[in-house]
Amino acid sequence: MTEQVQYKPLGGTIFTRGLFVLLFFTIIGFSLIAVRFWKGIGAVSNMTDVFPLGIWITYDVATGTALACGGYAIALLVYILNGWHYHSLMRSAILLSFFGYILAGFSVVTDLGRFWNVYNIFMPSRWQFNSALLEVALCIMTYCLVLFIEFLPVILEWIRGLGWGTVSKFADRFAPKLDRVLIYFIVLGMTLPTMHQSSLGSLFLIATSKVHPIWHTMHLPLFFLLNCLFLGYGVVVLESTLSSYIFDREYEVRVLAGLAGAGAWIAVVWLVLRIADLAWRGRLGMAFAGGDRYSLSFLVEFLLIGAGAYCLFKPKLHSARWLFISGMLLIVGGGLYRFNVYLIGFNWTHHWKYFPALPEFLITVGIVAFKFLAYFVLIKILPVLPAKHEPHLAGSPDWSSLMQSKIKSSSNWHLP
């Protein structure tokens, strides 16, 4: 019963109607980015001195990189928890992570006021080691590189298949060498997100009096780390069901249900820890009062995540449709948590409020559209998605039995 996981490009026409829609939003977004560089940040955004970080940082960077944690979350499951049967999801997850992080970096440059000075980040003499942002910046840049290296085997496989004489021959020679050292990068790809995802929470540790007490706690780094994990699992579920739907492929319900179960467990642990933290700081009443917008925002966040986790624990609801819905609930709830810390609960003692301007919003939309555009084009060209599918199971088993049944059916996968 040994089989090798084969990856195959999807093929088909690249220029579909969906692509033109994405292209439309991409062009609008990037034109507005040009306006931003020409006329300044104030010309396109509603950011103020009281809300110095808007949706570019809150969505594209803080939430976007968490949504790009699929590669990280699955790598942990595969290599640390021995869930080798999830390996078939790795390539698409890494590709998504790569775009998520590269475009987060791009958003940062758009957002940086003095972008031409960004070289200072590369000058160790100017590093300031108390700065969580320095850690985030260096870590994310390194991680982009690591993700590229992790994706390189796919590109090499593609080049080898092209039959381009010397180039293909070089790829032939280079691929096994890369395979031997790849594990160092894969482990680095698990270490770096642990660092910078927790640091994205550390960024706001210092705003003791500015972040609303429902969210400000010394445990922000821990909450951000766990949050990115269940967001990561949620995104892979979403991405996989969505691309199966769009490209009319069989749903990988069994694998995804297991994955979503991992996400659900982490979400539950996260919810319990948040309650414990609120109780410990004596803020439970404030959080559950439901009277003001902060408490409401907290309750919505909590209910979404709770509902998502609940659906995933019900084996009855393990169909492609429900997996999609519960994955979505986890993602929206988990994303709202990051918005609550970065924007909604920020500077709560002041009357000033922030809502993104239309151009500011369209820039974020453009960047997201570009992310999807690039992803959908590349999975048609490169061998990213597994060619063979597990059969569609009517009644899927629960997560724990899936975890135990491990690798019986497919033990000879080509693994780095």
Binding site: G40, D49, P52, I80, R114, R126, N130, E135, L203
Partner: protein, 300 residues
């Protein structure tokens, strides 16, 4: 497999050495809190609201005027708050005919400044005299200083394509080298703003509150807030400080709190290395188990 693991560990230790060396150098610059800095003492009961300090600050630091909402032609310099063109401003708080107070707003020059703690490229710095100043040649415009500042002091030039952060530096580069004191303290006709060593200013502030208990609120704002600030405030007995935009803040410096947690997590970069080593060990072990399991299955 074994040799790979060993090589991995050796690499880790090599990296650990380098990183530790770099880390040491970085942490060495973080000195003890300096309580012998220079600062300002602002006495709201002496201020007559003439705004001479606002004009003098703009002149000394070469800042352009800001239009007021009432004045579309821009004849007056009428900023409503600190902004990308204004480092210092005088505001009025009015509760009733008899209860009111002026308040001067500028950087508080915290003894343990949050803006310095968050800046990734050391563009915000604190000098030996406790002054917190800005180096635009290093600044990348990430605006974390604005996120971190508990007083919302650093401001950004949103309307400019090539903007910078604007914030009081106690005229470190402009008026102090020329005249020995910041423009606002030099021009004040009623000595509502005084410049000097923090210790002396604090002693003077306490002398005033003790000799005039009816006139002053018996509290010096900035003595303990966020670890102490080099700018100190006295206010009239009738007006609480938070009405003047000086919020109730804890005595622990936010920067001390966040740095303590971060350094506890990172342990001089040893923790990430240990994490890498552990993950590497587990991953290679798992992979080995997997390939062994595969062979057995094939034999069958």
């Amino acid at each position: 497999m074994k040799s790979q693991t060993r090589r991995g560990f050796l690499k880790c230790f090599g990296l650990a050495g380098t990183v530790l060396a770099v880390g040491r150098a970085g942490f060495a610059s973080e000195g003890a809190i300096n309580d012998n800095g220079v600062g300002l003492l602002y006495d709201a009961t002496r201020c007559v609201g003439c705004k001479a300090c606002v004009a003098a600050c703009k002149r000394a630091n070469d800042l352009p005027p800001e239009k007021g909402s009432f004045d579309p032609e821009g004849i007056w310099d009428a900023p409503a708050d600190l902004d990308g063109k204004t480092r210092n401003i005088v505001k009025l708080y009015r509760e009733s005919e008899s209860v009111w107070s002026y308040v001067k707003v500028q950087c508080m020059h915290c003894m343990k400044p949050s803006c310095v703690s968050v800046c990734p490229v050391s563009a915000m710095q604190q000098d030996a005299d406790g002054r917190v100043f800005y180096d635009k040649t290093r600044c990348i415009g990430c605006r974390m200083c604005m996120v971190a500042c508990p007083f919302i002091v650093p401001r950004f030039q949103w309307e400019k394509p090539l903007p910078q952060i604007v914030k009081c530096d106690l005229c470190k580069f402009s008026e102090v080298p020329r005249k020995g004191k910041p423009a606002c303290a030099g021009v004040c006709p009623t000595e509502a703003v005084q410049y000097g060593r923090r210790r002396q200013l604090l002693a003077e502030a306490k002398r005033r509150t003790e000799t005039n208990p009816g006139r002053y609120r018996s509290y010096v704002y900035g003595e303990h807030e966020v670890g102490g600030t080099n700018v100190l405030y006295l206010a009239s007995a009738a007006v609480p400080f938070d009405k003047l935009g000086l919020p109730n803040l804890p005595n622990e410096a936010p920067a001390a709190f966040s740095e303590k947690i971060q350094h506890r997590i990172y342990k001089g970069f040893m923790a990430p290395l240990a994490l890498y080593a552990t993950l590497f060990f587990v991953a290679t072990l798992n992979r080995k188990k997997l390939s062994k399991g595969g062979e057995k299955e094939e034999e069958r």
